[in-house]
């Protein structure tokens, strides 16, 4: 945080003021924590009977099944979204209007529809015309459709932000359109956009939780059922805490892995070159593009820090 735009080096008065703000922050945070601990006590949430459920192997087996359902839906959706992303991106970049326009329409449509509504369409809507599928496939297909179209936009933006000379040099050495795309444009675009692509995979993992609403038996589904079990003293708060911790842990793990990959890649001169060539400003309709803008701002920070 050194070299922040906002503050000068603090003088004696500013140091005292900063200390007071620091103490106030601690007091407020402790107050919030204390409130929750007090409420947990006051409503008897620390009673042994409330936590007994988590001493049974069977319960943990069920949690493991929920975890597996979450992870397996995510894994397939991530692979599918990457594949669909590439296909749609290439379609959007096509020279033929009859390919470009329909693909653009599909991508814009898929990005505008909330993932949950897409799941409703697949789960409740399609059976009206006789198409039924298990909730697993509903979750996977909805996630592939949304994240695939978002990734398509990310990849397209990466390709379009490359300097024109790259494409022209490719043609100059005699490559065809497909060769230029496959050997020159896509590799650079993907390298430069890797932080955004990885954070979109975290979004995919987070969105598997939407399956809960269409009764896909993932972690939250199980937490709800356990929380309603009267024989175990209805431990809804406890099951939310346990399952919530697992979910957040899972996402943090994936985010951490993404950051590790990003750091590794940052060391490669090719990646840095591609990222510096692109440094586009992305801001359109989704979470990802927000993240994209932030990640790129972050890259800017890194570049600035290096230049110093």
């Amino acid at each position: 945080m050194s070299g922040s735009v906002l503050y000068d080096v603090p003088g004696p008065r500013a140091i005292i003021r900063n200390r007071i703000i620091g103490i106030l922050t601690i007091v407020v945070v402790l107050g919030i924590v204390a409130f929750f601990v007090w409420r947990l006590f006051a409503t008897g949430q620390f009673a042994a009977s409330k936590w007994e459920a988590f001493s049974y192997t069977r319960i943990w087996e069920q949690i493991a099944i929920g975890l597996w359902n979450t992870v397996s839906a995510f894994a397939l959706a991530a692979v599918g979204a990457l594949a669909v992303g590439f296909v749609l991106a290439i379609g959007r970049l096509s020279d033929h209007a009859w390919v470009r326009w329909p693909v653009t329409a599909v991508v814009e449509f898929l990005r505008a529809v909330p993932v949950l509504v897409m799941m409703f369409l697949l789960y409740y809507g399609l059976p009206v015309i006789g198409i039924r599928m298990p909730s697993y496939w509903v979750v996977v297909i909805a996630l592939v459709a949304y994240n695939g179209s978002v990734l398509a936009e990310v990849i397209r933006a990466g390709v379009e932000a490359l300097p024109r000379g790259q494409r022209e040099a490719g043609y100059a050495i005699g490559l065809r359109k497909s060769g230029v795309m496959r050997l020159i444009l896509l590799p650079q675009a993907v390298r430069a956009m890797m932080p955004v692509i990885l954070s979109q995979l975290v979004v995919t993992l987070k969105d598997t939780a939407l399956g809960f609403i269409i009764t896909y038996e993932e972690l939250l589904f199980f937490a709800k059922r356990l929380g309603a079990a009267a024989t175990l003293d209805s431990p809804i708060i406890q099951s939310t805490i346990v399952v919530g911790a697992i979910y957040i842990g899972l996402c943090l793990l994936l985010s951490g892995a993404a950051r590790l990959v990003e750091k590794r890649m940052q060391k490669s001169p090719r990646v840095r070159a591609a990222q510096e060539a692109i440094a586009p400003r992305l801001h359109e309709g989704t979470d990802t593009e927000v993240i994209a803008a932030q990640e790129l701002a972050h890259l800017d920070d890194v570049a600035k820090a290096d230049g110093r």
Partner: protein
């Protein structure tokens, strides 16, 4: 068309629910997000650490889990029944808490886009902290924040549908309500999609216009 004209009352209520969630959640997110964003760029290490912790945790929490906590775990804890207006309140809180992280990060990266030299030059000519902020840094940061902030709100609009899973009436829950009235579910969902595409297009259009008006010339 019959699906809409025969149930205008319910569609109106649902649209109102969606708008309540959108504006309510947006307001909470803006207030909380500005506070967290300010903490993230503050010179106080503790405040920065708390802000970073909040952003990193919530960003790695599925929205459905946030809703789950607010709808099922929080009510027994503070001994409130989550039904009717209380359910709407919890849903707004969930959306606000979740979206606040994106607001905070957008503000932070907006401030970071202002070159250090700008603030240094402002201080060099003797402006006070308040003047540096209000005359030099924030006007520039504000302009670069607007477009990504609109993206945050577009995402928020789409996220309001998650409230449908927690018995809050909004456009996302129309399928449930209208299937009870014996309407064709497929048709209802297609209409909901059409409405969302239209709303998102409206917001994107506003975003493009704002972007044109507000770009920073550098």
């Amino acid at each position: 068309m019959g699906v809409i004209t025969d149930n205008l009352d319910l569609w109106g209520e649902a649209l109102l629910g969606t708008l309540q969630l959108f504006f309510g959640g947006g307001l909470v997110a803006l207030i909380l997000g500005t506070i967290v964003g300010a903490m993230r760029v503050s010179p106080v290490p503790i405040a920065r650490a708390v802000g970073t912790f909040y952003v990193n945790t919530i960003r790695n929490t599925p929205l459905t889990l946030v809703f789950f906590g607010f709808a099922f775990a929080l009510p027994p804890l503070i001994e409130v029944r989550a039904s009717g207006p209380a359910a709407m309140g919890f849903a707004i809180a969930a959306l606000g808490v979740y979206t606040a992280t994106y607001v905070a990060e957008t503000i932070r990266s907006g401030i970071n886009t202002v070159p250090v030299g700008q603030a240094e030059a402002a201080r060099a000519i003797g402006l006070t902290f308040g003047q540096v902020m209000s005359l030099v840094v924030l006007p520039q940061a504000f302009r670069s924040v607007i477009p990504p902030m609109m993206s945050v709100f577009i995402a928020l609009l789409k996220n309001t549908t998650v409230a449908a899973g927690f018995s809050v009436l909004n456009l996302g829950s129309m399928r449930d309500w209208l299937s009870e009235r014996g309407e064709n579910q497929l048709l209802v969902i297609v209409w909901v999609m059409v409405i969302f595409v239209a709303l998102v297009m409206l917001l994107s259009w506003a975003q493009r216009n704002l972007e044109k008006r507000w770009t920073v010339a550098r």
